[in-house]
């Protein structure tokens, strides 16, 4: 993988770049800032492969979290194909992550060299070697290093120290295996940056790993992957992100995961973050709601980065002004699309009233339309 920065803003730290030169998919490239498509068990929730084609025929980058795919390890050891083929997404870029950004992971089960992965059948303890075995079987295009990111805004200094010590240990072990691995020689390696909400620890950790041959890093350990991340106080996150980013060379991909609210994502882009995931739209779908902020994909991509990303006062002031709860009886006779003039299939063809009916009738199509 190659990451090239195309433009850097004059007025903020935001930047536009290109991800390219993927060995498995040489013909495709992605513009950043990018949203990795959140998947569960190798499937975009509620969307089958052919429905996904209605959403977009363009190649997408999919995030494949380990908790819902760890069970694929055994069959894949018996086959040469990687996880992309196994989940029927061979034309999509696959990025494997340790944790699921939309499912809170219970705390207190990690040990010195093992991370607990919560899957359907319960808890799996994964150490660096088992993790790297799994990754060698999965052969992802991009993958995270193993780490203990079980810190959040309330974590004690002691817990942060533990997270750092364990994660560094795992980082070195994973990187060592990565360098030697034949199966992963074409996969991009993403480090997990730990340190909780302690700026000094973050900076020290960053210094420790910044010189290593990594392709990018995740600012990990900010939250517990719950939908509540939406309501986090950005001011607490800001110094962590600002100071962490400074320590790495510019051409490292910067990733932040979780169900951040749209305005927080915009603010993180302003701080120079390049990649996110789509767990927030998934969380909104699960609560039977739809997002209604107006946007045009082309405007976002073509925007002159010299202009500040438009985060207006009004937009931030009224929390949830961009979301409607379609299960509410006030939409029973509302025959408008979810968002007027939106060109997506759901908005072009269906109404709020119909989705309200599908939600009340517990029809599967309700969440298909919302997820689209």
């Amino acid at each position: 993988m190659k990451f090239v920065i195309d433009t850097i803003s004059n007025s903020s730290l935001s930047r536009i770049g290109t991800l390219k030169n993927f060995h498995r998919l040489p013909q495709i490239s992605f513009e950043t800032p990018i949203l990795f498509m959140y998947s569960k068990g190798g499937c975009i929730p509620h969307l089958t492969h052919d429905v996904l084609q209605y959403v977009s025929k363009e190649y997408q980058a999919i995030q494949v979290p380990l908790p819902s795919t760890i069970s694929c390890h055994h069959p894949l050891t018996k086959s040469q194909e990687g996880i992309a083929d196994f989940i029927g997404m061979r034309e999509y870029l696959v990025y494997c992550s340790v944790q699921d950004p939309a499912i809170p992971s219970p705390a207190g089960y990690n040990t010195m060299d093992k991370v607990s992965i919560w899957c359907k059948s319960g808890k799996e303890h994964v150490d660096s070697d088992r993790y790297m075995d799994i990754m060698e079987a999965f052969k992802p295009d991009i993958y995270q290093c193993l780490g203990d990111g079980e810190t959040n805004v309330d974590s004690t200094n002691k817990r942060i120290q533990k997270s750092i010590k364990r994660s560094l240990h795992m980082f070195h072990r994973c990187l060592e295996r990565h360098k030697k691995s034949e199966a992963l020689k074409n996969s991009a390696f993403i480090a997990l940056l730990q340190g909780g909400y302690d700026v000094e620890e973050r900076v020290n950790y960053a210094k420790e790993i910044a010189g290593s041959p990594i392709d990018g890093f995740v600012i990990d350990g900010l939250h517990d992957n719950s939908p509540g991340v939406e309501f986090f106080d950005f001011d607490k996150v800001k110094p962590i992100v600002t100071e962490s980013v400074k320590e790495f060379p510019e051409d490292k991909l910067r990733i932040v995961h979780g169900c951040w609210s749209p305005e927080t994502v915009l603010k993180l882009v302003e701080l120079g973050i390049d990649a996110f995931d789509s767990s927030f739209p998934f969380a909104v779908t699960e609560r039977g709601a739809a997002l209604t902020f107006p946007y045009k994909a082309s405007d976002v991509c073509d925007a002159d980065v010299n202009h500040k990303v438009p985060v207006t006062e009004d937009f931030v002031k009224e929390e949830h002004s961009y979301e409607i709860n379609l299960g509410d009886s006030k939409y029973t006779e509302d025959f408008q699309p979810i968002l007027k003039d939106c060109q997506c299939l759901c908005c072009k063809k269906h109404t709020r009233a119909y989705i309200n009916h599908l939600l009340l009738s517990k029809e599967l199509l309700a969440r298909v339309l919302l997820m689209m």
């Binding site: 052919d50 029973t332 006779e333 009916h357 599908l358």
Partner: protein
């Protein structure tokens, strides 16, 4: 044998249904045709998947079109309860509400008499239901009266291409005077439905032949309904746990062209489409096609049925339908031990499984 039998509407009013038989089997009563409906031209024989509440289990209308579905079902009772008839009316009908541009068929709501019998009380006026729904859109335990007029009024609002009369459904295996009462009441209700129908130019009421498993009552019901001015017929009250002998004989009774060796007019005229409700399994569908049925619906896995219908249509056109039936039954019963009812029903329409098999080997 390929022939064109066009059943155009008389006069200049555009008919809401135009059935053209494209080809007929040289031996059996099987036929394939096109049923032109206001929203779409439907190839018959056709299997109609069930989209009870205005949605086909997680499948987008676009996907249904890609899978080449031409007509799907909606359930009047469910739709009338939720989202409610007011909402569908304001949306401009079910086609618009669910964004389905092809043909639709709705039932009368009467089938729920059987499936929710404990909740229903049937009188000459209609069916009194107690709503089993317990949600914000209707009061649980609320009594509702479904009359033939009301059923048609609701179906007129829903706007399906084919709508069903309200019939007096009794459990298939019921015997005695209740069956006779239901048979006659169904015909009386048919007349009330036809009278109440507001859109004959764009919606077709199909009468439903009842009569339980009694051949005399069945014939009577079919004869009475055949006298009405309608564009197609349904055979109801079957596929409810009766034995297969009874099942095929009741269908055959309505469609047969020969009786004891003599040519006869089928009780349900051959120029109009025939619909057996609630069928079914692949074997039943193949048998009913041979008997001369054109339309089916069932919650039976839909894609299997779709493929089967396509094979049947093609084999009738290619004039290889008897060979298709023989091959199909051989796959379904590899041991060659065919159920008696399959042998009997097919031989009644000149398809002889065992003889042809013996001849082939």
């Amino acid at each position: 044998m390929v022939l064109e039998t066009d059943m155009s509407a008389k006069g200049c009013v555009k008919s809401a249904l135009n059935f053209t038989i494209l080809a007929e089997c040289r031996k059996s009563n099987a036929r394939t045709g096109i049923m032109k409906l206001p929203h779409f031209d439907v190839d018959t024989p056709v299997f109609m998947p069930v989209g009870t509440q205005g949605s086909m289990k997680g499948i987008l209308p676009e996907q249904l079109e890609e899978l080449d579905y031409q007509i799907i079902l909606g359930n009047t009772y469910h739709l009338g309860t939720r989202p409610g008839i007011d909402v569908i009316e304001k949306a401009g009908g079910l086609h618009k509400f669910m964004n389905w541009n092809r043909a639709l068929l709705t039932d009368s709501g009467g089938f729920q008499m059987v499936s929710l019998l404990k909740l229903a009380d049937i009188t000459e006026e209609g069916v009194k239901f107690i709503s089993p729904y317990n949600d914000m859109s209707s009061d649980p335990g609320k009594e509702c009266m479904l009359t033939p007029e009301h059923s048609i009024e609701i179906q007129n609002v829903i706007g399906a291409d084919i709508i069903m009369q309200l019939d007096d459904v009794v459990k298939t295996t019921t015997v005695g005077p209740r069956v006779e009462e239901a048979t006659h009441r169904t015909s009386r209700w048919l007349d009330r439905c036809l009278k109440a129908h507001a859109h004959p130019e764009r919606q077709n009421i199909f009468p439903i032949v009842q009569g339980g498993l009694d051949p005399n009552l069945r014939s009577l019901s079919a004869k009475m309904h055949a006298e009405r001015e309608v564009n197609g017929y349904a055979i109801g009250g079957l596929s409810g746990g009766e034995c297969k002998e009874d099942f095929w004989n009741m269908v055959h009774l309505c469609t047969k062209r020969k009786d004891e060796g003599k040519d006869v007019q089928p009780l349900l005229p051959k120029e109009k489409p025939r619909y057996v409700m609630g069928v079914g399994f692949a074997v039943d569908i193949v048998v009913c096609c041979a008997l001369g049925v054109d339309m089916f619906d069932c919650v039976f896995p839909t894609r299997t049925a779709m493929r089967l219908m396509k094979s049947i249509r093609e084999s009738i056109k290619a004039d290889t339908f008897p060979e298709f039936v023989v091959g199909f039954m051989k796959c379904a019963h590899p041991s060659g031990e065919y159920p008696k009812w399959v042998l009997d029903s097919l031989s009644a329409v000149n398809i002889h499984l065992q003889k042809e098999e013996a001849g082939a080997s």
